[in-house]
């Protein structure tokens, strides 16, 4: 699996999904082309999916919000008879490297979270209209929808058969959403997750596995009715007109990936990638009309999309670059002005969408399994939304005082109101609250400095950066830190960072990315699943997994 995985796609390239737009309702059909898997060696039978299928879904969900703001309800269904979705393709999983499995699950989790949150964030509600078998990752797709309808034809069912069938977990939120979101009683959840054939008909509703069970002959009509009701109840404005998400400008060479505002420099020997975000080179659009006309070209949107793609590209295609160095260059005031237009117009649909996109991109940073360091250099623009990156990374270093021969503006960081609630993390706290967990006074102290261009000493005093370094120390300290960091075991780093980044209480989201994912990734390493005689490897051969029965 060495070919480059591209996360950029568009409707003309879809192989696996079809969308019909019908005013405020969009019908989203899963119709996986079994011969168009991302890699060789498996067929995507029975609407099973691989990363390629999910990249399309992610694109659809994104475009739904930007290109089709008129949509209030999305009905997810299958275009195939007798099967809604059979989940992640087992042969693909069986043949994939551990790293690919983990990355695949992370991306699919992020996509599930995105359409799940679409109702709260944007008033786009997802309905799963389930006909046929809906198993494993298929049910996890449905679980992430806001409303699940199941036909009562005495054979359609919902199921999480991973444990009995494959000796792995329903790892795309399945176990967590059953208890935390659907509030299925835990002993019933235990029964449900240990049975291969799942639950159908009235019991599925009784156990809260679905919201509604509908007689088969009335299914399509009831789904249409429900969609119309939800659309009518939606607070979203009517008849909004979307903007086009035009293709990103991106150039990929051996040692660099260059977008219009984001640049990545790849240092394979040093096992690091340096991501530089360039601030806007012109003032903010005068108003939301202007912003809307600029559309995908507007800096706030363009930078978010580019950074998002950069993160995904590095995660999947540059797995040995274990350290990401995040830099910015530009004018902090201009960044703040661009962000302010959106913050001041949050009731404008597009302003809201762009801010929500930033929220998601920043969450992607939070759950990225790389050591993250930010360098606040002279000429940088860590202000408002970009300052948020400083609180997402594991460590930050800031230049103090003037550096010889460096005539760029003095390094500063500037907080905005947005750093105090606009972009919550998965744990529902701000990054500053998480940073200062148990120390609300420090958050309040920082809050008093909103809008000030804080230089190194002040930033240090407020606890907003890890180290401030002057001209004498900067280069050596940074070099030593990076060399040391790149030498540590990547596994230990991933584990340590993922633990330290999420202080405070658990939410469903942190439980999915933490508890569920961690256990799943452990199981993905164990011989009982992936060994030559493990259940995942043997799936499809007819021979059962041969388990080591020792409990660990």
């Amino acid at each position: 699996m060495t070919k480059m995985i591209d996360f950029q796609t568009n409707p003309s390239k879809y192989r696996h999904w079809k969308v019909q737009y019908d005013g405020p309702i969009a019908n989203l059909y899963m119709d996986v082309d079994e011969n168009c898997g991302l890699f060789d060696g498996y067929q995507l039978k029975l609407n099973s999916y691989d990363l390629g299928v999910d990249i399309e879904l992610s694109d659809i969900v994104q475009r739904m919000r930007f290109e089709h703001p008129e949509v209030k309800v999305v009905v997810m269904r299958s275009a195939k008879e007798k099967v809604f979705c059979a989940g992640a393709n087992i042969r693909m999983l069986g043949g994939a490297t551990h790293a690919h499995k983990v990355n695949f699950c992370k991306f699919t989790n992020e996509t599930r979270n995105t359409f799940e949150a679409a109702e709260e964030d944007s008033g786009q509600k997802y309905i799963a209209a389930v006909k046929g078998s809906c198993a494993g990752g298929g049910y996890e797709l449905a679980l992430a929808c806001n409303y699940i309808m199941l036909t009562d034809d005495s054979s359609s069912s919902v199921a999480l058969p991973e444990v009995p069938l494959l000796a792995v977990l329903p790892g795309t939120g399945g176990l967590t959403r059953v208890t935390d979101k659907r509030k299925v009683r835990r002993d019933r959840a235990d029964v449900f997750c240990a049975m291969e054939e799942g639950v159908r008909g009235k019991r599925a509703a009784e156990w809260k596995l679905v919201d509604e069970v509908v007689p088969n002959s009335k299914f399509d009509a009831t789904v249409a009715e429900r969609a119309a009701e939800f659309a009518a109840a939606s607070q979203r404005l009517d008849g909004l007109k979307g903007i086009a998400l035009t293709p990103l400008k991106r150039e990929i060479t051996d040692n660099a990936v260059t977008y219009s505002t984001v640049e990545i420099e790849l240092d394979r020997a040093g096992r690091k990638a340096t991501i530089t975000i360039n601030g806007p080179d012109a003032g903010a659009p005068a108003d939301m009309d202007t912003f809307t006309t600029e559309g995908a070209e507007a800096w706030m949107l363009r930078a978010a999309r580019e950074l998002d793609d950069a993160i995904l590209h590095l995660r999947l295609n540059e797995m040995e670059l274990g350290l990401w160095v995040i830099r910015t260059q530009g004018d902090p005031e201009t960044v703040l002005a661009h962000e302010k237009l959106l913050l001041d117009n949050q009731d404008h649909w597009l302003a809201n969408e762009v801010l929500q996109l930033w929220k998601r991109v920043l969450k992607r940073v939070d759950v990225t399994s790389r050591s993250l360091v930010a360098l606040v250099e002279h000429g940088s623009c860590f202000a408002g939304v970009l300052a948020e990156l400083l609180f997402a990374v594991d460590r930050s270093y800031m230049m103090e005082d003037e550096f010889e021969g460096d005539n760029r503006p003095m390094a500063t960081l500037t907080l905005a109101n947005s750093n105090f609630g606009q972009y919550p993390m998965g744990n529902d706290l701000t990054r500053l609250q998480t940073r200062f967990w148990g120390d609300e006074a420090s958050v309040e102290a920082a809050q008093e400095h909103i809008g000030e261009a804080l230089e190194a000493e002040e930033a240090d005093e407020l606890g907003l950066v890890t180290y401030i370094l002057d001209d004498i120390d900067w280069e050596d300290e940074i070099r030593i830190f990076m060399e040391e960091r790149a030498s540590f075991s990547p596994d230990a780093m991933t584990g340590m960072e993922a633990n330290l980044r999420f202080a405070g209480p658990e939410t469903m989201e942190t439980r999915i990315f933490g508890r569920l994912t961690a256990w799943q990734n452990w199981i993905f390493q164990r011989p009982n699943a992936v060994g030559a005689e493990g259940a995942l490897q043997r799936y499809g051969t007819g021979v059962r997994g041969d388990f080591n029965m020792e409990r660990v």
Partner: protein, 483 residues
Amino acid sequence: MLDLINVSYDTQIPNNVGLSSDKKVLKALEKWHPGYIDWWNQLIPNRYQQSEVYLRTAVSVDPKGWAKFDYVKMPEYRWGVLLAPQVEGRTIPCGEHAGEPAWQDVPGEYRNLMKRLIVIQGDTEPASVEQQKALALTAPSLYDMRNLFQVNVEEGRHLWAMVYLLHKYFGRDGREEADDLLRRQSGSEEAPRMLGAFNEETPDWLSFFMFTYFTDRDGKMQLESLAQSGFDPLSRTCRFMLTEEAHHMFVGETGVGRTIQRTCEVMKENGIEDPFDVDRIRGLGVIDLPLIQKKLNLHYTLSLDLFGQEVSTNAANAFNAGIKGRYQENRLTDDHQLQNDTYKVWDIVDGKIVQHDVPALTAINMRLRDDYTKDAAGGVGRWNKIIEKMGIDFELKLPHEAFHRKIGVFADKLIDPDGKFISGAEYDKGMVEWLPSHADGDYIQSLMKPEYEPGKYARWIAPPKVGIDNKPGDFEYVKLAMA
């Protein structure tokens, strides 16, 4: 009529499973039974329910007991629970447990897999009765009507057999599944039967004969493989069901044979040599041989689809678990585990139909299908003998298994009955010759006029050579109730 409040299960339900002392099953059956009777009563038109039908009833499994003939009204038929006698020291015939003593109880680890297989098998039994419910109205003779009802009551008994297993061995889940077997209905919009082929109505008698020959033969092969199960009660049940299933094959084979016989006779009587002189042959009220070939093509290919994907994980799991064997597993001489063997399956590579080796475990379906094809070819040979004997130059043939498929590697591919890839235009043109058209259906339908007089037969079909239970030609197989 059964007294539903005071059913004496031991006297009214023939069984060899100690029903009257099995509290668990009795309790479950008491609940299920009224639903079954209800299902039956609503199914077949009332006139026939009230008629006295000369039926065979199995009252025990010994040679004397399994075929008691007498007149009975169908709702009073004694559906029994009968298992073939237990074989002392029987072992699991295949898979990773091969050689271990056969299971007398369901092993927990295979419960779901086993339950699913029983439910799928069980679902087809009532389905075919539902598909055939209107046929009595156009029966070509009382003899044929009786055969139809015999098939129907036995499919009903097969449902009983599967329900007994569900009640006896699968607890609460089993009871729910048994209820759902009555809830699903063939062709229902609300809750259709599980397999597509069992949701199509059987529209006429030629279709019925083709169905019992080709589709019931799939059922036979499935029963054959379940008869090889390491789960002994399932094996014993299926072994006994096979004795009844043989009669269904007989109805199908002789039904098609008698149709052919009649067509050839009428052709000869009228000096028609060319079997393709369709208009003249149809003008004489019989079914032309090319149309019989088309029906054969249709039913054979639909039945092939019932075997599922050529390469199948479920089939592999079931075999390896010892739940389902191969056809006549006990007579095969390999290691019965197949972990290192291969089997040839069809595939399409670069637009060509090829065979290649795959792990034998995953090709269990393909192998059963191959056995089916061999089995199905036998009757076709005998039909050709009839044609040959009558001196007509025509040969019926099983089409290539790549033709007209909806499941497996050949699904929806443009392939002709000889197994050649052809263009879309050729396919459209050919289909008129290869499969029955709506006009063909209309023609067959026009022949479907009932013949209710004892000893008389509709014009398009010849009488049987021998009566059921050696009864004479004018025997009144069904004493029809007044309409």
